[in-house]
Every structure is written in C-alpha cells, then in structure tokens.
C-alpha cells in the first residue's frame, strides 16, 4: 500500500502490454481524458522530433521512439500555448462586450520523457500553488493525461541526473518502461489507474509487478545512462537551501559578467525550456473588435523588464542571465523545494552562443561551498554582494 503521486492512496497497479498494442493504450487514455480529447505524441518531421496531434493512434510505433532521445521543442506548449487568447472584445466603451474563449480540448500527452513530465509538476508549483492559480493552465492541466516513457538512451545534452532525476523517474500519470517487445506500465496517479482500468476493460492484461522494478534497475544500470555532457558528475540537489546569506553570495558572484559575455540576449533558452512560464499580455485591436492575448516571454530578452517610461531594472545581460539561472537553481527551490531545471538539456543544446547551465551550476556550487567553509572556519561571511554586473 503506497500513495500515488497525486496523493491518492492506492494499491500498486501495473500492466504488461505488447508494444504493438500502443494504439490501445492511447485510446484508453483518450477515453479517460474525455470524448473530445486530442492525442499528442512525438513525430519525426524534417529530421527533428516534434510534438504533433495524432489522429490515428494505431500508426504509433514505440520502436521508432527508441531513435528519439527527446523532442527539439518541449511539450509545455500543449498545456501552456505560446499564444493564448485571454478574452476578445467587441464595440467601444460604454457599449463594449467581452467574450472568453471556450476551455481547450482535453489532451493526452503520450511519449513524454521523465524530464518533461516532471517539468509539468514544476509548472504546477509555479502556476497552481497559492492564492491565485492560473485559470487557463489549471483548466488544461486538470483534463490532461500524461503518459511517460522511460528513456532507453541518453544524448550528450541530457542532464537529468545532475538535476536529481533519472531516465526512469516516476512521473506523469502513467510510466511506461519499454522492455523489448513489451511495454511495462505503472500507474502513478488516479488518472493512471483509470487508464489501466480502461485498458483492462477492453482486454485482459497481465500485471507487470516486479518486472517494473527489474526493468527500472536494468535501465538505470545500462551503459550511457550517465549524463555525458558538461553536467557529468554534478549534483545540483546539493545546492544549499537558499538562506539569505548564500543567496547574496551567489547574487554577488563576480563570475556572472564573464559567464554572460557570449550571451546574445535572445529568448531561445526560455522558449525551448519545459519549465519556463513567463508571459506577456498584449492587446490586438482590429477596428472596434480585438482580443487580449498572452504570449510566452523570456527574461533573457532585452525588453523583458522595460517598464512604461523606459526604466529597466535589468539593463545588463549579465543581470538577466543571473536572474534566469538563480531562478532555475535557487529561487524556485526556496519557494517550492524543487529545482526549476529538470535537465532536459534543450537550452544547452540550442543556445546559439554555446552557453551551458551546468557552467553556472558549477559556479554556484563552488560559491555555496565557499560560504559553508567560511561558516565552518568561522571567518566573516562574504557580506554585501558586489556591484551589479553592468
């Protein structure tokens, strides 16, 4: 007797499905998600893997996914679209009519990698926790079913282990462990349970039971399962809880300037990131009609913080980059106890200037150790941070 990821008490529920029955799994998930649900899965187009709506689940072949480490763009847009209408209007004050768009169709996201599945947990923390949950995201999220596929291979870009995760981290509503010709399923939430139940309702399916743990062991031990990139051997969970002193020390590190030198102030890192969720609200008038949309934004862009009147609290790119990395590795953790980076590696792979979050992490770990040592050796704390890098 354990508790599910969503806290619901449950008996461990697993299943063993032949991999050519993936379509059935998909349809079961669709049934759970609702009548008008849309199925999303990775598909290869123009040499890249991308998330696309799938109309014929039976064409899905998990074997092809083995060639995919991960999609180039994260799946966050499925539940948090880059462009989302908040409301539309018609007429002019005083005679103005507002109209709120209908809720999105429920989504089944099939084939998530653990790093991306965990990323939705992070988005939940950022957008749903607290007094003012993000209504639009909440609606999409509550009706979505997440089916995670454990990774059978890693690329030089992968950093999940540095981020405290693994290629088999239980995440999403249902975890799938590919094992040869069969898919070992493990329900992780009530939704996952429902999917398995639905599946069993259609045809008898054996329990996977201990096979799941065995396969997880196997995958974890398998070669090439240790982040080979710059992040190799790093463990960001060792970053200390963000006590003011440490944060000030990290904030004041002189290294930011040098680290940021190559940065070109584009927004790529945030736009490919599965957990970045900053947005901008803008109006799009068309005569007497129009709409208010929210669109992805990035703290790396030069005008991100520019206020009406032109003031910009973060004019230097070093300041913007510090904000980004500290938010990923320190600030969010202080608020919600978890790293805002799941180690998917997209930013590092995509950065046109070859910047790497692991470089920043290394710097932060060093700074933290310094603080710790100073504390031990009883000598004075670093005190006030240095001047902002300009």
């Amino acid at each position: 007797m354990t508790t599910a990821r969503d806290g619901s008490p449950r008996r461990r529920h697993t299943g063993n499905l032949s991999s050519d029955r993936l379509g059935a799994l998909a349809r079961a998930a669709l049934a759970v998600a609702g009548p008008d649900a849309v199925l999303w899965a990775p598909r290869q187009a123009a040499q890249r893997w991308a998330w696309e709506p799938i109309t014929s689940p039976d064409d899905l072949d998990p074997r092809t996914w083995r060639r995919m480490v991960n999609t180039r763009i994260s799946p966050k847009g499925i539940l948090l679209p880059q462009t989302q209408e908040v409301f539309s209007w018609q007429g002019r004050t005083p005679k103005i009519a507002l109209d709120v768009p209908p809720p999105p169709q429920p989504a089944v996201i099939l084939g998530l990698r653990p790093c991306d599945a965990v990323a939705f947990d992070r988005l939940d923390e950022a957008l749903l926790v607290g007094e003012w949950p993000d209504v639009a995201y909440a609606r999409a999220r509550s009706r979505a079913v997440l089916v995670t596929f454990a990774c059978e291979s890693m690329s030089p870009e992968c950093m999940c282990e540095a981020a405290g995760l693994s290629p088999t981290t239980p995440s999403g509503d249902l975890l799938v462990l590919p094992a040869g010709e069969s898919l070992l399923l493990e329900a992780l939430t009530a939704k996952g349970e429902a999917v398995l139940a639905e599946l069993e309702g259609r045809e008898p399916m054996p329990e996977a039971g201990s096979l799941v743990d065995a396969r997880r062991e196997e995958l974890a031990g398998a070669a090439g399962h240790h982040a080979p990139g710059l992040a190799a051997g790093q463990d960001w969970t060792r970053l200390p809880p963000a006590d003011p002193e440490t944060v000030l020390a990290m904030f004041g590190m002189p290294g930011w300037e040098e680290l940021a030198r190559p940065c070109l102030s584009c927004g790529l890192c945030a736009f490919v990131c599965p957990t970045c969720h900053c947005f901008a609200l803008t109006d799009e008038p068309r005569g007497d009609t129009g709409r208010r949309v929210r669109t992805w934004d990035s703290c790396g862009l030069t005008d991100f913080m520019r206020a009406a009147g032109g003031h910009d609290p973060r004019p230097a790119k070093a300041q913007r980059m510090r904000q980004r990395f500290l938010h990923k590795l320190v600030y969010h953790r202080a608020a919600h106890g978890s790293l805002m980076c799941t180690g998917c590696g997209r930013c590092a792979a995509g950065c046109p200037a070859g910047l790497h979050i692991a470089t920043a992490a290394k710097m932060l770990l060093a700074a933290a150790e310094q603080v710790a040592q100073d504390a031990l050796s009883g000598c004075a704390a670093p005190g006030r941070p240095q001047e902002d890098p300009q």
Binding site: P228, P262, L264, G267, A349, P352, H356, A358
Partner: protein, 330 residues
C-alpha cells in the same frame, strides 16, 4: 577537447598547425599590448563544439581552437566588446566572421580603428545535430566563397595562408550528413515548383514552428540595431501572437531589412530551434540583387548597400522584367 567528433574528411594535422598559429598570434598580440582582447573559439561540452572565447590574458591563448566544431559566429561580439574593452579588440575568425565584422564597420556600429581582423582559412563548419555522428557541414558552407582568405584587404591580416590550399582540398561533407547539407528549398518564382501556393504552403509549414525567440536576429550580424523594429509597440508591425500572418510579417521584415546586407554567415539558420531554412530566403534575395542590380557578391559589405544606391538603368517594373520571378505583372 572533450568528446570532439572530428568530421570526416578534415585534414587533422593541418588544423593542428593552424590552431598553433592562431594561439601564438593571439598570445603575442596580447603580450605586446596590440589589443586588449582576442575573440576566438574554445572547446566546450556538449560535443566539444567551439564556443566564443574572449581572451584577455596571454596565458589564456592556449585555449583557442580552430576547425569545423567552431559553430558559433564571433564577428558580432565586436558590438559589445569594443565598447567594454580597453584597447583594440581582435577577431580571429573565418571568412564569415570577418564579413560579419566588416558588416558592423560598414554599418557604422564599430570603428575600424577599434578592431583588428585576423582571417583564418576554413573548411566549413559542422551542423550541431550531426556532430555526434562525426559532423556534417552546414548547407550554406557549401556555397561559401570566403573559406580561403582574400589577401590585400586593408585592416585584415591573414593567418595560415600557406595552409589554405590543404584545407581547400578538404572534403566538406562528413559521415551521414547528406540530408543535413541538401538544399531544402529551390528558387521560387513563376514556374518553380514552390512558386505560388506550393511555396506558400512550404513556408507556412516552417513558420508555424517559429517560436519568435529572436535567435535569428540575435545572431545576425546585419541585425545590429540597438532597438529592434520587430519588438516596437508603436508603430507595431508585428504582434506578439504567433499566428501565421504575424510570422510571415516577422520574417518578411527581417529578410527585407537584411536584404543586400546579409553576409551569408548562416548564423540565423544555425541558431533557429525550429530548423527554419532561413538561409534559403537570404540566398534567393542575394541572387535577385545580383540579377536585378548587377551587384556581384552582395554578401561582401561594400561602400554602399545595394538598396542605398540606384542606377538610372535599373530594370523597370513597368516593362517586363529581365527574367522570370521579378518585375511587375503587366
């Protein structure tokens, strides 16, 4: 260099010699105080790809590298570094880096006396995804005409001229990279397969995936305005929403504004996370500029921008254009 995938067909020993020359040159420049900074490449994970190196101490010159892994264009960094550095700034780069620097100079953004340009021969640069497979050369490198330094240009010095020949003969395409190097779009225009609806569908397909992350603009040496019209709210030419018309406007404005100013470095396409073949557009426009206005090698910054001058004998839209593709419908 960590897990560097040396692309097939590169003469490793030539690159090694070239690299030594580059390091020595940078070291002596810094030692003699000729420059305050040398911008070049150094190896970094993943793939051991070459990322920008900003060397200010003679001792650091040893980290400089050359070769196909040097993906990141470094010319544009002069914009920041000439302002941030005491003394001149040297760029040790390939033809495209040099052209990028010349673009900034031509655009009045960098003073010629603030920079020192050192041109290193190049055998093309690798495609990120293909690095693991042993590297493929970026498409536009196949059409590149500045791989080998052009002597006799003032303000530009050449490193390793004697090695250029060896690199010139180097095969440009690595293992399993043909698809990466194949041109994706054929020239449009009446008759061409992607003219009209087909072309529109094709570009719509690409633009649908555009994230508006501005990486193309951020890396483009011709996009060097301090404040960009693409983010302007008044007048607002492009709205933030990623609807298709906005995407077309975004890419039309960018293509038009760099028309005749693009240095053919391919940075936009390399940087694009959606893999949009942006260089196709630029190369089509460059060909048009040559055809319509007789400007040879429009990617080489000259005294005038092709759109900043005119010739009374330019083709006239009222008369049928010289060839298909251009001119007004009459």
């Amino acid at each position: 260099m960590p897990d560097a995938g040396q692309p097939v067909g590169y003469p490793a020993e030539v690159l090694r010699d070239l690299q030594q020359l580059v390091r020595d040159c940078a070291r002596s420049l810094l030692e003699q105080g000729e420059v305050g900074m040398v911008i070049g490449h150094r190896a970094a994970a993943p793939y051991g790809r070459g990322v920008p190196a900003f060397v200010t101490e003679p001792g650091e010159a040893g980290q400089l590298m050359v070769g196909p892994q040097c993906q990141v264009g470094i010319g544009k960094y002069l914009l920041d570094q000439t302002r941030a550095t005491r003394g001149r700034v040297a760029v040790i780069g390939r033809g495209c880096d040099i052209l990028a620097a010349r673009r900034l100079i031509a655009d009045n953004r960098v003073a010629p006396d603030q920079v020192l340009l050192l041109w290193v021969p190049c055998a093309g640069r690798a495609v990120p995804e293909a690095m693991a497979k042993g590297g493929a050369v970026a498409r536009h490198c196949l059409q590149c005409d500045v791989r080998l330094p052009e002597p006799g240009q003032d303000g530009i010095e050449i490193i390793g001229a004697h090695l250029a020949g060896a690199l010139a003969s180097a095969s440009l395409v690595g293992e399993g990279c043909l698809e990466a190097t194949a041109p994706r779009i054929a020239p449009a225009g009446p008759g061409a397969d992607n003219a009209g609806d087909a072309g529109y569908e094709r570009w719509s397909g690409w633009f649908e995936h555009c994230l508006r992350c501005y990486a193309c603009r951020a890396t483009c040496p011709a996009c060097n305005c301090d404040i960009c019209v693409l983010e302007s709210r008044s007048p607002q030419w492009v709205e933030r929403s990623t609807a298709l018309p906005q995407q077309f406007m975004f890419h039309f404005i960018r293509a038009m504004d760099v028309a005749g100013r693009c240095v053919n470095c391919g940075e936009c396409e390399r940087a694009c996370p959606a893999g949009i073949p942006l260089m196709d557009l630029q190369q089509l426009v460059a060909a048009d500029i040559t055809e319509l206005f007789g400007v040879e090698r429009p990617h080489v910054p000259g005294e005038h921008e092709p759109l900043g001058i005119f010739d009374a004998r330019d083709p006239d839209p009222e008369r049928p254009a010289r060839t298909s593709g251009g001119g007004a419908l009459s």
